[in-house]
């Protein structure tokens, strides 16, 4: 695997590239001052929705299991009567 040339192997082109990269590094990047608020608001909202969905899923599962158990019992009873 080729690696970055060690400092003593550096060519003028490496130095020039570093100068240009330094300018990019020092150039301003867009600020996103309201990003934190937006992310936290979305996280709160999504967590709420996820909580509701999990509750609904739990209720549906419990109801389904209940119905399954009742049907199972009835089926068992019918089976036992025969």
């Amino acid at each position: 695997m080729t690696e970055t040339p060690p400092p003593d192997d550096r060519q003028p082109e490496d130095d020039r590239l570093d100068e240009l990269l330094a300018e990019v590094r020092s150039s301003p990047v867009p600020e996103a001052p309201d990003l934190t608020d937006r992310v936290v608001r979305a996280a709160r909202w999504q967590r709420g929705v996820r909580g509701v969905l999990m509750s609904v899923t739990a209720v549906v599962t419990a109801v389904a299991e209940g119905i399954g158990a009742m049907l199972g019992v009835r089926h068992h009873k019918h089976g036992g009567d025969e």
Binding site: M1, L17, V24, T36
Partner: protein, 194 residues
């Protein structure tokens, strides 16, 4: 946010992550505030300004929902930047060929008021350079951004890009060569014999 006041002053990432995993949104907010600028910066340099904020927001939200799977084996910052890196690369790959346009939004914030010529020139050169960086292959671009622009250590970059350190160094070397080659064709900025 007032809830921040209940956090221990100077809480470290481990404490904040633990509290965020327990559902403390103010702890998550503190983490977002701590890393927001770097997340936006990395996203900007990989996908460009137009998409950077969306990528940053999506990455931070994904991090929030993935916190239960964060095992703490790597520093939180590396783990978060891995998500940013992956989502930036995905966003870039989803896009059709890169529109190389000097007015690609990067110059949009040049104020109307007169600026010293040298500053304006440097600003424009830096914009052209940013565009050249975004033309690099995604895996090369990410390594160059993390190493040469963010100044991160090789082992951090290896964790973020999920690549062996040797490959990271190789990619960086190729990225720089690729960039030098691209710049050689730009007589305005290269200023060295071709």
């Amino acid at each position: 946010m007032t809830a921040l006041a209940v956090l221990p002053p100077g809480a470290d990432d481990t404490q904040l992550v633990r509290r965020a995993r327990e559902g403390d949104l103010s702890a998550f907010e503190a983490l977002v505030s701590r890393y927001r600028d770097q997340v936006v910066r990395v996203a900007t340099r990989i996908v460009g300004r137009d998409e950077a904020e969306d990528v940053a927001q999506d990455a931070l939200l994904r991090a929030f929902h993935s916190l239960p799977s964060f095992r703490g084996e790597a520093p939180f910052r590396s783990w978060l930047l891995r998500i940013v890196h992956n989502m930036s690369i995905d966003a870039r790959n989803r896009r059709t060929p890169i529109p190389i346009d000097v007015d690609d939004g990067v110059s949009a914030d040049v104020p109307d008021s007169p600026r010293p010529a040298s500053m304006l020139e440097q600003h424009e050169r830096s914009d052209r350079m940013a565009l050249k960086i975004r033309e690099l292959k995604p895996e090369h671009r990410a390594v160059l951004v993390l190493r040469d622009l963010e100044g991160m250590a090789y082992d951090d970059i290896a964790r973020i890009t999920e690549t062996p350190i040797g490959s990271v160094k190789g990619r960086l070397h190729r990225a720089r060569k690729e960039l030098i080659e691209a710049l050689r064709n730009n007589t305005y900025d290269w200023e060295l014999p071709r």
